[in-house]
């Protein structure tokens, strides 16, 4: 299937929305509520385009492509409408980029930049920060919230924790946690999915505050060390100090689709902890001393062999870990069954 965007023909798949085709081909349409993970939204009304044959403006995140469709994304009529919508968002919030953690990675900033908006001509008065600092890992600043609803969709449909919802209506609409509690008092488990999907700086990683701006951070992909699921992580590392500033899930990872749990996202203290073990330790006369891997493994092997000889294979049992991968557990049971020669093997998740 083919559609035309701004006079150029592009390939499209029948179930795609116009905005998806545009993005695939590097055409920027400002949008705030749309995110591939939560699908059609149609709420923010920023991504409007003109479609030949349909009167008025259409939101490109809800308009499905059809053969021969002709779309314009950049007429003055469109830009003017987009400008007014973005201006209204800017009018009702404390959108000061200077100290905002999201600076450089903010979709509202991107939209305003694209539309050439400097200062919104209209303001709903002076808006003070409305910070909810009650939660362990996440800081909420309602004065930056644009009520796009991505976090609500993520919490209810993606991770299905069902903590977030919209409360009130109209101008008073706001995101609520449970029965309109502080985030820290709610049933939120701090998975951070809402932080990752927030297009602005309304939901941020508390511990990353002041630790470096987005463009100062190197991004390194890795696999979460905590459990056997193998979620793909992106570490955001301050290149000056080599410290991890924050961790996000990798959206296109088939394992976790961007989702993480509280440990994977926020449990990275251990990396540079003084108490972290970096070499094997051998206990001699009640005291631990550092040893090499060769020495340690040789010692363990000889002890196992000694026990096996004296008491038989069944005197030994193996307990596998949920923190390692399936492949590692497979190798481990081979070790126990074939080399040690016993079926005494179990898994910590059964305890």
């Amino acid at each position: 299937m083919h559609i035309t965007i701004n006079g150029k023909v592009y390939d499209a798949k029948p179930e795609q929305m116009v905005i998806e085709v545009a993005r695939e081909n590097g055409i920027y349409i400002p949008s705030l509520c749309y995110h591939p993970k939560i699908g059609k939204a149609g709420k923010c009304r920023v991504c409007v385009v003109e479609v030949e044959g349909i009167g008025g403006l259409q939101t490109s995140c809800t308009t499905q492509v059809s053969e021969g469709m002709k779309v314009v994304t950049n007429s003055e009529n469109i830009l003017e409408a987009q400008r007014m919508v973005v201006n209204l968002m800017l009018a009702n919030g404390r959108h000061d980029c200077i100290k905002c953690e999201q600076n450089g990675d903010c979709e509202l900033q991107d939209a305003a930049y694209y539309l050439g908006i400097e200062n919104p001509p209209y303001q709903f008065g002076i808006i003070e920060p409305q910070i909810d600092d009650s939660a362990e890992m996440i800081q909420v600043d309602r004065s930056k919230c644009i009520e796009c609803g991505r976090c609500v969709a993520a919490c209810n449909n993606t991770v299905v924790n069902e903590v977030l919802e919209f409360g009130n209506r109209g101008f008073d609409t706001k995101i609520i946690f449970d029965n309109d509690l502080l985030m820290g008092e709610s049933s939120c488990v701090q998975c951070g999915e809402c932080v990752q999907i927030c297009p602005v700086g309304a939901l941020i990683d508390k511990r990353a505050i002041g630790k470096g701006r987005t463009w100062e951070l190197d991004k390194v992909e890795t696999v979460c060390p905590y459990c056997g699921v193998g979620c793909k992580l992106e570490l955001h590392i301050d290149r000056k100090t080599d410290e991890i500033v924050r961790i996000t899930g990798v959206e296109d990872s088939p394992t976790n689709e961007g989702m993480l749990c509280v440990k994977g996202r926020y449990g990275f203290d251990f990396v540079k902890s003084d108490e972290r073990l970096t070499t094997p330790l051998i206990k001699e006369n009640g005291k631990l001393r550092e040893a090499s891997w060769d020495e340690a493994i040789t010692l363990v092997a000889s002890k196992f062999n000694g026990i096996k000889k004296k008491f038989g294979s069944d005197a030994i049992a193996g307990l596998a870990s949920a923190k390692v991968t399936n492949e590692e557990n497979f190798v481990f049971q081979k070790l126990i069954r074939r080399e040690v020669g016993t079926n005494n093997i179990d898994h910590c998740a059964r305890l």
Binding site: K40, G42, K43, C44, R45, V46, V48, G56, L57, T59, T62, E80, A81, M84, V85, L88, M89, A91, N92, Y122, F124, I146, E147, G149, F166, N168, R169, G170, F171, D172, T173
Partner: protein, 429 residues
């Protein structure tokens, strides 16, 4: 052929025919007044498509405000081969100055049930819901009793009148949200959620309640159905104009001698409504203008006194009929204050889902408050009015549902007719 409206003074023709005449709590009384005859005719003498054709032939258009042809709406849903299809009656009458549906539900509830049954039969639906505003306690009570009685008499339930047609009907109650009069937010509310409009397409006729095909019709619309079936589309077309057939319920309110509700053949003029049916202007003051169609309506001035009050003729003049509410305003009415009331209404009723409406309605209200204050100080700034107009235009272009698109119409028409004059008076000073 337009029948003389005077002859029907204060008596209903179709939808209000029984109101005030029969005992609304007695199904026997309704049956004695030819009740359920149309339904039986449809059920025994007509097939489903014939019913739809008759409704199409009548030219009936939705009476909720948008004026979509009813028969056509049904014909989208009827052929769909789906197990569950629904008829939803929109009784969330929230448009300010609109009280027609309440009158029917309280005065002739069985007529509505009969209309729903015929619609259900025609589109092969098996379940109906009447979504009534929470504030309409008496309507809920009366319809509740009427539904019970209809079950008892075998008009509702399984194998109705020993045919293969089964239909259940249930009342659902709103919680105080104007936006739930919009069909998709009404459906969301029916599902027990916040009444946020959905984007269309898909339209409810294809994927509505629980994503199943659902026909959403207004109370007045459905109450036209029994007579269309029993007397025929041609009979129905003998009332009204060529494009706006049948009758319409008008609410003549505000500064008239006899405010009230009246059902008249379509095509009646504003002059007739005010000076004949409304008894003329209160205290014999001059007419300043009228607000037609409620808050989402349009100011219509004395220059349009003699055009027919139909959807198509009003739209030629950039106006709309809406629900049929006509708020008559005498000379000397403070229109800025009225605009403030309207803008407060929109801001209060915006669902808050989409950006232009959530922030735009608030901005409009704040601007009109500023204008009102400035006028009191004799220093109105015409730029504020222009800013309002620009904002409303943008809202009209970009809002998700009709609510955000609505403020433009009253605003623009008010400026055309009168607000500008009030401005000029002060600015010149």
């Amino acid at each position: 052929m337009r029948q003389n409206s005077k002859a029907f003074n204060r008596h209903g023709i179709i939808t209000l025919k029984n109101v005030g005449k029969i005992n609304p709590e007695s199904i026997e009384d309704f049956i004695a007044h030819d009740g359920y005859i149309a339904f039986e005719k449809a059920l025994f003498d007509m097939n489903e498509d014939e019913v739809i054709d008759e409704v199409k032939d009548s030219g009936l258009r939705g009476r909720g405000g948008a004026g979509f042809p009813t028969g056509l709406k049904w014909s989208f849903t009827a052929p769909l081969k789906v197990k569950d299809k629904f008829i939803i009656c929109n009784a969330d009458e929230g448009e300010p100055g609109t009280c027609k549906d309440r009158l029917i539900m309280e005065g002739d509830p069985h007529k509505l049930i009969e209309g729903i049954l015929i619609a259900g039969y025609a589109v092969r639906a098996n379940k109906g819901y009447i979504y009534i505003r929470g504030e309409y306690y008496l309507s809920i009570e009366r319809l509740g009793k009427a539904i019970k009685d209809a079950y008892k008499h075998g008009y509702l339930g399984q194998k109705i009148l020993e045919t293969n047609f089964s239909f259940d009907l249930e009342i659902k109650v709103g919680g105080g949200a104007y936006v739930c009069g919009e069909e998709t937010s009404l459906i969301e509310s029916l599902e027990g959620k916040r009444g946020l409009p959905r984007f269309k397409p898909p339209f409810p006729g294809i994927a509505g309640l629980w994503q199943k095909p659902s026909v959403v019709n207004n109370v007045e619309t459905l109450c036209n159905i029994p007579d269309i079936i029993s007397k025929g589309g041609e009979w129905f077309r003998s009332f009204g104009t060529k494009k706006s057939t049948g009758t319409k319920i008008f609410m003549i309110l505000g500064n008239v001698k006899n405010p009230g509700i009246i059902e008249l053949p379509q095509g009646v003029t504003l002059r007739e409504l005010i000076y004949e049916h409304g008894g003329g202007m209160e205290d014999d003051k001059e007419l300043k203008c009228t607000l037609v169609g409620g808050a989402a309506g349009c100011f219509v001035g004395p220059d349009l006194l003699d055009i027919p009050m139909t959807i198509e003729s009003l739209s030629e003049h950039g106006a709309a009929l809406g629900s049929g509410s006509i708020l008559v305003l005498k000379e000397g009415t403070n229109l800025i204050a009225l605009m403030k009331n309207l803008m407060h209404f929109f801001k209060h009723e915006s669902c808050g889902q989409c950006t232009p409406c959530r922030y735009g309605t608030e901005k409009l209200y704040r601007l009109i408050c500023k204008i009102s204050d400035d006028i009191a100080r004799n220093k109105p700034d015409v730029n504020d009015l222009n800013e309002m107009l620009e904002t409303a235009k943008m809202m009209q272009k970009t809002s998700l549902c009709a609510l955000g698109q609505s403020p433009l119409m009253p605003l623009e028409s008010a400026m055309k007719y009168c607000v500008i004059d009030e401005f000029k008076k002060r600015v010149i000073k």
